[in-house]
Each structure stands twice: as structure tokens, then as C-alpha cells.
Subunit: 377 residues, 4 copies
């Protein structure tokens, strides 16, 4: 097995031409695509329709190649998008491809697995049950990836369902108490449940310790490999597991680091070092093609201070706090990476240290035979 990752630019949220071109010219076989992670240029909030627009166009385009309805594709190929390209960030998407029968490159290479949980009962959104559901799906995705040691998992992306006013009404009609009073709170709880679910699957917490009393309360508890988003558009948990595995070949590797706070430049440099990339301080332009994906979670420090100084993100009625933090952390990471196509997502509760987050990077090893297929780089 061999994974490949393509980092593709988009001109607008309806533009899937870069992928279509690679399918047309044979670089990518449509049936080998297993997942997408991307950033679109909306506001990243409830009324960000750029995610739906892009997914719609992507699945419609793929359906013409795969002879399968777009709706069906959307239920088996995770497409997890984060809205908001604040500051220097550039709209883009990562295409994860899984090839069989190839054997170039060393073993211990990047492994990709995916899984979908069963539909989650609305009464469990953001609860311990939700975490257990995520944990099972993560285990399935690890198995799908053929990763044997949990230490080899470096990044788990989850998209988890949340409540909406309609779903809350359904629970009330059923005579049940909704696990959250409104959509916004349920999204935060769902992200917490997702993080604890990943932690459970990765052995970072024991099942007996798992309690939803910890969710959004005990921020000392965190999983440095969990990246969770929550949205109304899914009924089940969607999972993408990224790691390294002896069963996979190729020149790609993944590494990750926790970020202590929103200005943790050291973590960014360190994760590159883990992959044999030297940023001094910025990665040389000749190395940019080696970096196939940069995945970051971040959060405005809820205590209102960074390194002891007040920040104003949480009290701003004009700009959403998540937009602020994505712009700032995006600027920091882009300064090191050089390529501004960086996935930075907010809402990092329990995903990395409190007030910080995490970073994962996928990079090609420094060989002469670096895959020339990284079009759009």
C-alpha cells in the first residue's frame, strides 16, 4: 500500500478544476481517492456556505468519473473542510490517495485510514456516548489504515454531528432532555466528545476515567493528536486517521507536535525537525514541494491572556474570535513553512494544551525521486 497526498489550490469555493485536471491527465485515479481535508474562504461560522458549495461541486465532479451518485460518495469519502482563510492563508484542499500494488520508497511510510460511525442518536451528542462512538470509529479507521502501534498514529481528523434547533425540537417531542441548550453549545460539546473519543482510542485516557463531566471543564485533559470539527451537515462521525506504518511504502511521513499556546513557534520548528526538514528559520523555497500537508488546531486562550498579556479576541463583536486566531496562527506557521496553504482550524477544546493546540505535517523524505505529481504546489 502507498499513500499519496496532493495539495491543490482553488480559485474560489466552486473551483475543483485542479483535481479534475489531475484525474483527466491520469495523475490521480478517481477510485483511489479516500479522503479530503481542506480550507475554503468563508467565515468558518454557521452561515459559511463555502464548505457546502465546494463539497457539492467536488462530489458532483467525482460522480461523473466514478459512476456513483454524489450523495453516495459523500457518505463514504470523508470531505472535512474548515472555513476561513484569514490573513495570509490560501484556500486549498488535500487529496488523500491510496494506491495498491506499488512498492517504491521505504516502508514505515504514511498510512491513511477512514471510517464512518453509525448515525448518532441526537440525545447522545456531546456526551460520553458520543465519545465512545467516536472511539469505535477511530479504531476502525486505524484498522483500515493497517497501523499496529497506537504511537504511530499522528493525526486523527473527526467530523462530528451537533444539535440544531430542529434536532432539539425532535428530542423534546420524544420527551427527552437535549444534551445541550442550543446549537452553539452542542458544537463545543461535540468537539470535546470527539477529542475524548480519540484520546480513548489512542490510549491517552482509560474508559473508566471517561466522563462527560470533564468535557469543557477539565482542560488539563487533552489529546495532542485529535482535530475535531462539528457540523450540522453530518449524522454520523466521520474519521480520517493519519499515521506511519510498516505496511505502507513511499517517501511520505507524518509527524505532530502539541502547541503550548498561540505563539508556539518552537513547536512549528520542531515538527519540521521530526521530518528531517530544517527551517532556518523559514523552509527554503526548494523544499516547499516536500511539504504535502500542514494541519493545525488553535484556540483563542479562554483566560484572555497570552504570555501574561491581554488579548482582545474573545470580546470582539466585529470579528469572530475563531477568525482572529486562525489569522494569527496562520501567519506564524506560514512564516516557518513558506507555503501559505495551511489548514488552520479553530475550536480546539481538549485538542492540544489549553490555549494552544497542535500541528501535524506530512512531508516527503529528501530523496531525488520526490514525486513529481505535486501539481499545484
Amino acid at each position: 500500500m502507498q499513500a499519496d497526498v496532493f495539495k491543490l489550490s482553488m480559485d474560489n469555493p466552486g473551483d475543483v478544476s485542479a483535481l479534475a485536471g489531475l484525474i483527466e491527465n491520469g495523475t490521480i485515479l478517481a477510485q483511489e481517492i479516500v479522503a479530503f481535508i481542506g480550507k475554503t474562504e468563508g467565515n468558518g461560522g454557521v452561515n459559511d456556505f463555502t464548505r457546502g458549495y465546494f463539497t457539492d461541486r467536488l462530489m458532483t465532479m467525482l460522480s461523473t468519473y466514478l459512476n456513483e451518485p454524489a450523495e453516495s460518495l459523500a457518505r463514504r469519502i470523508p470531505c472535512i473542510l474548515s472555513g476561513g482563510t484569514e490573513g495570509v492563508l490560501s484556500p486549498h484542499y488535500l487529496v488523500f490517495v491510496r494506491k495498491t500494488g506499488e512498492s517504491d520508497g521505504a516502508t514505515g511510510a504514511l498510512a491513511v485510514g477512514t471510517a464512518f460511525s453509525p448515525a448518532l442518536d441526537y440525545r447522545h451528542v456531546g456526551t460520553r456516548e458520543h465519545a465512545l462512538s467516536v472511539a469505535k470509529a477511530v479504531e476502525a479507521a486505524i484498522s483500515d489504515a493497517g497501523i499496529r502501534s497506537l504511537d504511530d498514529v499522528h493525526f486523527v481528523q473527526v467530523k462530528a454531528p451537533c444539535l440544531t434547533s430542529e434536532r432539539i425540537a425532535i428530542l423534546h417531542e420524544r420527551g427527552e432532555t437535549p444534551p445541550a441548550p442550543n446549537a452553539g453549545r452542542s458544537m463545543a460539546l461535540a468537539r470535546a466528545a470527539g477529542a475524548f473519543g480519540v484520546a480513548l482510542a489512542l490510549g491517552d485516557i482509560g474508559e473508566d476515567e471517561l466522563s462527560d463531566d470533564l468535557f469543557l471543564e477539565d482542560f488539563q485533559r487533552h489529546c495532542d493528536r485529535a482535530s475535531i470539527s462539528s457540523g450540522v451537515e453530518v449524522e454520523a462521525n466521520e474519521v480520517i486517521v493519519l499515521g506511519n506504518s510498516e505496511g505502507w511504502t513511499g517517501n511520505l511521513r507524518i509527524a505532530h507536535r502539541a502547541m503550548c499556546d498561540a505563539v508556539d513557534l518552537t513547536a512549528v520548528q520542531a515538527v519540521l525537525g521530526d521530518l528531517g526538514l530544517a527551517a532556518t528559520p523559514q523552509l527554503d523555497a526548494s523544499e516547499w514541494d516536500r511539504v504535502r500537508g500542514v494541519l493545525v488546531k488553535a484556540e483563542p486562550d479562554r483566560r484572555g491572556r497570552i504570555h501574561g498579556q491581554r488579548h482582545t479576541m474573545l470580546n470582539d463583536t466585529d470579528i469572530d474570535a475563531q477568525r482572529h486566531i486562525r489569522g494569527a496562527v496562520g501567519g506564524l506557521v506560514a512564516g516557518v513553512i513558506g507555503d501559505t496553504r495551511i489548514f488552520v482550524s479553530g475550536g480546539a477544546e481538549h485538542q492540544g494544551p489549553d490555549g494552544g493546540g497542535l500541528i501535524a505535517v506530512i512531508a516527503a523524505s529528501d530523496t531525488a525521486d520526490i514525486n513529481q505529481q505535486t501539481a499545484g504546489a
Copy 2:
């Protein structure tokens, strides 16, 4: 002569208590204050009243110590504020103090000079005449600072008048053609005029080359030591010159670097190196007190790309482009400096390379006797 710089936090745009405390306890003599540069937490646009609020409170407070009306103080002590603490940036202000009769520390230390030009005729706003007016004021401020070699000037902050609809109406009544069709355009032209005025005073351009045809047109022309803001609240050009001078003593020094683009991490590391500070990659917390001021100008690349990748700042109807760039560059610089009290100002036309900008840092040398007066650090 000896300069001191205090980096003070504010809790809100009406909070001048940090300075009041330092005056009360004798750390700062009110009559020795010569200038202010700061960041307030407004939107940085036309309807940002946090700058006026802070200036009003500051001058009112000082007037009680100096027995001089606030309006009069505002006309002799430059107080140049930039609105917008996007992302990790923290509201703060630098207080520049000039002491005589002291002689501790080496010579060749930080020198501070200020000057006000005569009121600028509205018909000259943003023209060659404006640049000449700025140049003269810069020369006066250099002289005030006692800096002999132009190479020793590292940062020139100018606040330049712009047009308003009222001022345009006045010109029409006088039968004259306004030099810009609206306030927004006149602000950009005034910043350009300011940058060329500084360039002329510093010998970066000859007076015969100076033409307003270059303004906002020839972006190859830039001055890497000019930081210009433009506002309706001034009638004259206000200038603060910062440099190093043999005539000044103390342990403070200033250095500057051009920033090639919005992700120029190298420049940020380099300017610290110029001052003997090693950020590996972030400045150690034990060194934060040494950094007395960080002054940055930046700009969303008007060509729409950074390192070849599309950015979305210039087409965003929800968030002003200058807010985007301040947040991103603030995140980058804070990652190196550690302290989030960083002055990042947008509108960097001709102030540093096109699409980039510049950074200047004031720091104390690494001696045991680092001034303990840096309250608020």
C-alpha cells in the same frame, strides 16, 4: 542625554493608569516625556474612536501634572496610535522619555527626536509639496535627536494630515482642484508622500527624482525606515525619529530590517540578531524585558498572492484587509518575540518592499543593570 522607553499595557482605550502610576511613584517625570506610539483595540479604520479616546485621556491626565492645557500638549507631544489588535496582539503604548544629565551606560545609545511641520495647505495633501514638508520636519527631528549620520536613523514615524469631505469642499470653494477625489485616496497618497518625504530626508532619493507621479505607482521605490500613518485629526505632519547616537548614553539600541513579504520570518530573526538577541526560535522569557518596543509596518500584497499562492484579504467584504494583515503579521512577529505587545500598522505603501514592510526593535543590551523600571512588562 539618555532615552528611556516604557512599554505599558492598557485595560481599555480609556486606561492610562499604568503611566499615571509611574508618574505618581516617580519612575517617570512627566516633563521628560517626548512622544508616544501605541496600539489601541479599535478597528483601525475611519470610525475607530479608540485612538481619540486614548489620546484624550492621556493628554488630560498629563495636563494635571504639567499645568498645561491638554490641547496644547497634543500639539507638542506626538501621540501616534494605530488601531487594531487583531489576533494575539495586545493593546499597549510606548512612552518615550528623554533625560538630561545622566550618563550611565555606553554612548551610541538610543536617540529620540520629534518635530511638527507647519500646518499643511489642503491643496498639497499627498503631493510632492507634502513630501517636501515631511522631509523638512524629519530633518528637524533628526537635528532634535542630535543624530549626525543619516545611517544612524532606524525608524521614522510620521502622522500626516489627509483630506476629508469638508476639506475637499473648502478647496472647491477656493476654486482649487483637490489633490484626491475622496478621503480614502488622500490617506493613501498622504502615506506615500510621507514615505517619500522620509526617503528624501534620509538621502534614499534625491530631490530631483522626487515626483508625485511615483506615489502609489512605482512600488520599487520604498524607504525601509519610514512608518507613516495618516489621519483627519492632524493639520500638520508630526514626526518621531528614532536612531542611535554617540551623543546619547544608556543601554538601549534600535535596529531595523526590511520585510520582503508578509511571512518574512527571516527579517524578524535578523533584527533581533542585530541587537544581540538570540531567538531560538522564540526569544527566551528571561529576555522579554529587554525588548522595549517592536514597530512593524505591513500590507496585504496588492497583487493578491504571497509566495505564489492566492490570498483573500483584498476581496473580503466582511473584514477589512488591513485587519487581516495586522493579525497575520502580528502572529508571526509574536512567535519570535514572545511578548504580544507589538505595534503592527497597515497601510505600508512605499514603506518597505512591495507586499512586505519593515520591522524596528528597541532593546536593552545584555547587562546586569537592565533598568528595572519596565513596569507592565
Copy 3:
């Protein structure tokens, strides 16, 4: 006793020149000023500093005429500002003046009373205790206004304290459970408590019925004469009561109407009719001077629909929902009134019908002797 109301424009949130001019020319005696209600041009949110800026300038200016420190004035003269002049709304302030010894005009005229409650213990913010505290202050203000029949009260403006993260921390230190988990929730609860407090004082609800279980839950309960704002800047409840009273003379009267929803044009026309003003459909320009104050509360319908059609205010990450509703209702009311200096405030929980709000208008009767003092009209 005679009340007068001046509707004054401001050029920016630091501009108190209109009032200063009227004091200078003797139109207003500074010692007769008893209250202010106004709209400033900030965003109306937590980081809206235009309210503080204006209050600061106002009290500083008054202190020069009254020989009393600004801080002391702020504790006895209520100055209740709402930020946000979205759409056609124009920044302005109403100055309420109380004159004695005059007797022109009929009795039954506009009466104004004010009161301050004792400082509210933080553990009571947004609870039944808070409502009781407000009720007592409203009773004191009614008494201050000399209004005998509760039916003669038409508008009660309250500014109520809320929690902040600091205040929550203080409660935790005292070993007490904060009545709300965060500042935002406490502001909504404080507005609810204020509305129920006014309802209690006006006899719209009995003390035995009063329970904080109703707050933000039973929206069938509402007071159509309560206008509540909540802010961190106060420790006590500040109250302004407006009504008509036999004990007062003059040509001013006040009337109010509930607004059923955000498009309730009928209510706006009706309240003018109550005052003998005919808007057909817009008030004639010759009548604008008669309208001395228009006070409106409004709210985005929390059920997401208006007249059965979806609105998008509550899901907008770019523009705060309160900014949306102020702009829309401001446009509606201005269409009838003609003068765009209208006080429209959001956060109308329990203040008027669910999804709607209320409107109160102060107008001069149609006599030849309409007070010529309405400068700025």
C-alpha cells in the same frame, strides 16, 4: 415642575459641543440636568468603547460647570447609552432637564424621575433578588417623578450590572456559585431580571408570581414599558422613569405602544396618534421639532422567522444579530418619524412581546408656543 427634553446631535463619540453650547448660551442650566439617554456609533457590543468615551467627555464637561468631580456626577446622573447606529440611524443624545418654579403649559405633562439602587451583590445578578432590587429603585424613581398612578408611567429605562470574568472569579473565591456561567449569559439574565423588576414595580406581575425560573424561559411574560440594558460599568441599578403627571406642567407628553414583531409599522403609527401626531404615512417635516425623543427596544425573533419567513440574523458570524435588528427597526421607525435620531436598542428579552419590543415617544403638543429651545433638531 416642568420637564424639558433636548435632542442633540453629536459629530463623533467625543463630541459634547451641542450641550456645551446650550449651557453656555443659557438655554440649559447645568444644575437642572437629571438624565441622559443616547445612541453612539460603536458596535453596541462588549468592545464598544464609544459609550465610555462619550460618558467620560460629558461628565468631564459638566464637572466644569457644576464644580463637582466627573466620577461623582456619573454616580448621580444616569447616562444610559446604546451603541450602534446601523443603517439610517443618527448618533444623538436626549438631555432630560427638570425645572422648578415654572408654570407655563397645561398640567399632566411629562414627568421625569431617577434613582440608583444600592450596589448589587454579584451573587444576585440576573436572579429574583436582582428583580426585587430593580423594583425598589423603580418605585423610588416613580416617587421622584411624583407620578401617582402607575398607568401614567410610559417608559422605564434601567441599566443593570452584569457579571464579568473577574466578578465570577470573586464569587468562586468566596465559595459561592455564580448565577451565570459567563458574562454574555449574565447580561441576558440581568436584562430579564430588570424587565421583571419593572413589571413588579408597575403591577404587571405579583411578587408571589415572580420567579427566576421565568427568566429567559417564559417569553409570554413581558413588560411593555421596560427598556433594560446591562453593562459591566455599573455596580448598581440605574433607573430613569418617564411618564405624565398632574404635578408637572409644560407642553410635553409621552406615550408608548408594544411592538408585536420587528415589522410592526402599525404600532409606530399608533403611538404617534396617541400624541395627536398624524403620520400620513410619514410625519410632515414641519412637525419634526415636536418629536423630542423616540425610544425603541427590539430583538431578532429567536424562533428564526418573521411572519412565517426565515430571517438570517441569528446565524450570521459576520454581523452581530443585534446590529441587524437595530438597522431594520431603525429604518422602519425612521420612515414614520422622518428624523433619524431614534434610540433603538437590542436585547429586548421580556421587554415587549416575544420577537417584538416596544416604542415610546415624547412629543410637544400642537400649540403655537412650542419651545424654541430644541436646538439641534
Copy 4:
């Protein structure tokens, strides 16, 4: 010939289910659809992708019924969308249907015509040539509508191409001077050209008087029946003409009125009166189904005042001025109409009086046989 208009709601910008349902149940024949006008819930600016998303979904859906590629449909069926449902406005779209062979209802009924101009050479964008091109297309659409008297034309919707940085670059390469320095200016000029083009076609201005010196300069010149939008997505002028014609039958009629300013409630009431609808002051709910379309153009007064009072729309860095005005005027018009599905579009240069705009309403006559097909009402 008979026109019908369906006012359909959308749940999100990708939701075309209301129209799909009406096609599925036979209420609408897909081949009889001739035009769309609608409002989507984006920001209405350059980065508003809700317009493209909706058009994409709409044309894709229609193509399945019409056996014609979506791209081809988009080139022959005008779909003119305005982004921004500020305040009470509700996302919706009007479907214009043209039926032949029917003869119920009186003659002199609503007539609909459409036309596309040839692709406009970029060097003509926003110039006199552009106006002439629009005029010809309007004449073609009037002819298509079978309207004989120009007085019977009540509303002309145009979508006109503008410049982009790419198009400006193409002109520079061809050695030609672009007619505008940037995209934003070219959009305003294109709207002006469109308005003058409509004016020319309707006889409101003579061809000898037509000069692009008037564009964005002489605001006394305006056409009260022209509604122009400008966008990068078109290469040709798209035109929809709406009027009444003896050659058409049915119970629908259209009327229009100029709006003098942004609070012109009188005009809104008057246009309903023209159609035999009495709003006293709001249209009774029993009449809402009769109103098939409300089309409004509006503009923040560029002189900064409304009825002599300052507005703050043009200086707001947080909220775009067009968003402000749409919300305010939407609130005003909704107060009269009752149904919040109102098309309010900004950028009204030369489209109605300076600082105002225009309103057109399509309504069914008061007969027992009002078409029951107005689903979604």
C-alpha cells in the same frame, strides 16, 4: 401570452427544492421559465459565493429537466441575484414564467422580456459604448416582451460586466488604457452605464445628451425604472424587462415609484396604491399572496446625511455601507408589505433620485380567481 411569477423561499443558498417541487408536481413547466431574480444570504460583496452557489444548483437542476447543459442555460436564462439579507429580509427567488395559449384574466397584464447583448469589449466597460450596448439589449427585451409604449415599462433589471485585475491586465497587454483603475470603480461605472443605457432605451435621455462625463458625476440625472447590478461572472449585458402590455393576459400587474431618500415611506405606500392594494399602514395578511415580487434599489446617501442628520454608513470599517442600507430599507419596506421576501439591492447610482432609489411591485388583482399556485407564500 401570460406571465406568472412565483416567489419561492430557500433554506440555504444551495436549496432549489421549492422550484424542483413545483416542476415535479406540474405547477411549473421548466421550458416556460424565462428569468430569475433573487436574494441570497451572503454579504453581497466580491467574496459573496452564495450567488454562484445558488445559480450553479439552479441551472444544474433545470438541466435535468430541459436536457440542456447547465452552462448553456446560464447563457440564455438570466438569473440575477443580489447577496445580502440584512435585518428582516428573507432569502428567496422570483421565477418568471411565460405561458402561451392561455387567455384567462384581463389584457394589459404583466409582460416579461429578456435579452443578452453581445459580449462587451473590456475597453468599453463603464463608458458611453457600454450604455449604448445596454440600450440595444433593453430595446430587444422590450420587443421580446411585446410592450409597445415605453410608458408601460416599469422595471428593467440589468446585469452588466465589469473589469477585474485580469481583464485590466489584458487591456494593458493590448496597449489600451483601461476605462477604470480597479474592479471596484469599474463596477460603479458599469452600473452608471447600465442606468444611462436603460434611460436611453426608455427615452429618458437623448443619445446626443449621453456622455460618460455624466457617469457618477451628475446625479441629477437618473432613471427611475433601472436596476443595475455588475459582476465579474458575465461577459455580456443580461436584461430582464418588466411592464404591462395589452398583448398579455392574466391578473398580474406591475407598478413602480421613485424613492426620494432611504426613509421614503410615502413611495412604498404609493406603489401599492397604484396596484389597488391598501396598506393601512401594513398590508393585511390576507393580501400577502397577491404580492408576487417587490424589487427595490437603495443607496447610502453619499453626502452623509438623511433629512439633515448625519448617518454613519459610509465611514464604517466593520460593516459594508451597502449592507447597512439594505437592512434599513428592507425594514422600512417590510413594514408596509408584511412579507419579508423583498429584493433590496444596493449600488443605486443614477437608479432613482440621488440618495434614494426606486421600488417596483408585481401584484395580482383582487379577484376571486387569484392563482393558487403561489406556493411558498
